[in-house]
Amino acid sequence: MDFKLNDDRRMLSETLDRFLRDNYTIDKRHEFAASPEGWSRKMWQDFADLGIIGALFSEEQGGFGGDGDDIMVVFEALGRALVVEPFLPTLLAGSVLAEATGEAAALHLEDVISGSKLLALAHGEPGARYTLEHVETKASEDGGTYRLTGYKSVVLGGGDANILVVSARTSGAMDEENGISLFLVDPKAAGLSFRPFGTVDGYAAAEIILDNVEGELIGKKDAAYPLVEAAYARAILAVCCEALGAMEVAKDLTVEYMKTRKQFGVIIGKFQALQHRMADVLIEIEQMRSAVINASGNLNSTRKKREWYASAAKHMAGTIGRQVAEEAIQIHGGMGMTWEYPVGHFSKRLVMVDHLFGDTDHHLARFIELGE
């Protein structure tokens, strides 16, 4: 057993932290989020040049990382800065792509890692809630060409992708794991329409409507479910790490505020009721860190263990995230409610993370099922 990062990861962590400290203040973040695209192309290229995108993929995928530890290091730092650039869609779609295809993927991934192409995975649908096996979008074959029709909802990075990876049903019933296939779709293809939007916490996403759109089958027909599930496990780990980073900052900002804000002639940090609540927050964040380590350490374990620990981490990100978010706002009082003061944005992110890749209750049910 070993709970230390190796030297490469420590360096990656320091590099990224330093870069974000220098280039990604909360004001910059608001500026990027408020821009027309909702994020910064320039920053994205800088991240690529720093090797941060490459750190998410293994050497055989063309990157130089791709382990749980890499995801932990990168996304915790991104969470501390509330980075709005499309790391989550890149990880999610990149993971699927890398596993689904061999050489074709390598070519695409090379461009993704260099920052010149953007990916998104269009998988979720309005009727799916958080289940991964619910796919209504249909792909029908006609003379070797597949055509896709359906509706994909809240596709992270969906409005900006140069390549869309779209799941569709080639056989089986609506809620079956078998029968789902993956397709590469050109976002400019005929029949494709987008409704891009920003999320309430500042990230770019889109609804994607497919009306008889041409797609290129990648990977084995009907057998995409395990790939999608594995990619989501990586994305769950990533978003939990992001949440962990945001928790740390929300806690630190709150403790700082408690040291400076005076009421009744003393700093509010002297009020024992608040102290004990923050001590609990501290403990819970340590638990969150451990849950993330468990999920990371089991990313290459059996499917059952990987998913069990991923669900535990995501459930805990939901409960602890809520606790940290609420305490941070409440202890800040009015200041916590403002746009201007940073802490509220961390709270928002912490709550909304619960709506990505399955919420608290979804992963509770899943944890129970997997444990049976």
Partner: protein, 398 residues
């Protein structure tokens, strides 16, 4: 004991229901039910309708326009209004300033200001909190210095809700620095159009403009605008805290919100069943419903007792704490209920006249932003920590 409504109250309930069904404009109702932004005009319109019926200020003395409602009737009206999607009335003039004027104001002040509150001439806002004086309100610094027949006011107020709509502001100001901080505070009425008054918006974390900073730079206020005696403002402000309780527990608001949440949960599907039948969601819903059912009774017990002349007590602190916990929990369930569609936020869709198709279900757009906005409930009007402190002193004797 008896939980049944009297025949009289049942008749009142029907009257309220019919009034709301016939008089509440559908355009306004739809905005409220979908969490869209109300304009100043919307609110003034609705308050005018209520005023015409004589129901805008039911708890004022009859001679000023009150309706002599009992605690139960107040509760029934509150519940029915929320259920119907009526806007809340703006409490600053009606429920916060007016009781103080009626109890401590001069006859001239009553004759002048009260009718203008009712008929919508004056929109009031509240000037209590300051950057350095939130929970510790008594430490406020905005000063009013007597200069002939004026006070000269300097300082800053903050968290001024709808101050950008207001014609007038009632302020706690420091008129003396002698004795305890509470002893040098006065209650002053200030015309927002007076030179030297500046309103600056504070954007909340949901991106909305609702509260403001109000700056006073050598603002001249006639001495006639002092309410009651100089340096007695703290007493007047405290009087308010124990006076108006009907809405403290948020029972009407929560009941309506819960009903809407249940409707959403029946529509949302989870693994092939309505979400309302998902055991974990159903459990969350049931727990908050049990709490709310109990809170309704806690609320009525306290209101009826206060009505029967028992001393106004610290019970409103209980109502405030539990009321916000229940209300915020309902919001939390609402954002859970809509799943991934909690994420999209199209702020223009909150405005009147937005005609595009919504992203996701029509009820979803405002839910997350409202969730964040409502966190203020546990902070304003005495944070839940302040309320627990009051309970500690008064009910536990510690």
């Amino acid at each position: 004991m008896n939980l049944e409504l009297s025949e009289e109250d049942k008749a009142f309930q029907s009257e309220v229901k019919e009034f709301l069904e016939t008089k509440l404009p559908g355009r306004i109702r739809d905005k409220v039910l979908l969490g869209k932004n109300l304009t100043r005009e919307d609110i003034v319109e609705w308050q005018g309708i209520l005023n015409k019926k004589g129901w805008l200020a039911p708890n004022w003395p009859e001679k000023y326009g009150g309706a002599k409602w009992t605690a139960v009737q107040n509760h029934l009206f509150d519940e029915a209004s929320w259920q119907a999607g009526a806007p809340r009335t703006i409490p600053f003039g009606l429920n916060m300033l007016a009781p103080v004027l009626i109890k401590f104001g001069s006859e001239d002040q009553k004759q002048h200001y009260l009718p203008r509150i009712l008929d919508g001439t004056d929109w009031w806002c509240q000037g209590y909190s300051e950057p350095g004086a939130g929970s510790d309100l008594a430490s406020l610094k905005t000063s009013a210095v007597r200069d002939g027949d004026h006070y000269v006011v300097n300082g800053q107020k903050t968290w001024t809700t709808l101050g950008h709509y207001a014609d007038w502001i009632f302020c706690l100001v420091r008129t003396s620095s002698e004795g305890k901080p509470q002893e040098g505070i006065s209650f002053l009425l200030i015309d927002m159009k007076t030179p030297g008054v500046t309103v600056r918006p504070i954007i909340l974390l949901d991106g909305c403009h609702e509260v403001n900073e109000v700056f006073f730079d050598n603002v001249k206020v006639p001495v006639a605008n002092l309410v009651g005696e100089e340096n007695m403002g703290w007493t007047y402000a405290k009087y308010l805290l124990t006076h108006e309780r009907t809405g403290t527990a948020n029972v009407g608001n929560s009941t309506a919100a819960l009903a809407r949440l249940k409707a959403i949960a029946r529509q949302q599907m989870s693994k092939g069943k309505p979400l309302s039948r998902d055991p974990y969601f159903a459990a969350r819903l049931a727990k908050v419903e049990m709490e709310l059912e109990a809170l309704k009774t806690t609320n009525l017990r306290i209101l009826v007792e206060a009505d029967s002349g028992a001393a106004a007590g610290p019970e409103s602190s209980m109502l405030k704490v539990k009321g916000t916990i229940v209300r915020l929990e309902i919001n939390d369930l609402a954002r859970r209920a809509i799943g991934t569609y909690a994420l999209p936020f199209v702020s223009e869709a909150l405005e009147e006249g937005y005609n595009e198709q919504p992203i996701g279900p029509v009820y979803a757009n405002a839910i997350a932003s409202e969730h964040f906005n409502h966190r203020k409930m546990a902070i304003y009007a005495g944070s839940n920590e302040i309320q627990r402190g009051i309970l500690t002193k008064t009910k536990l004797g510690l």
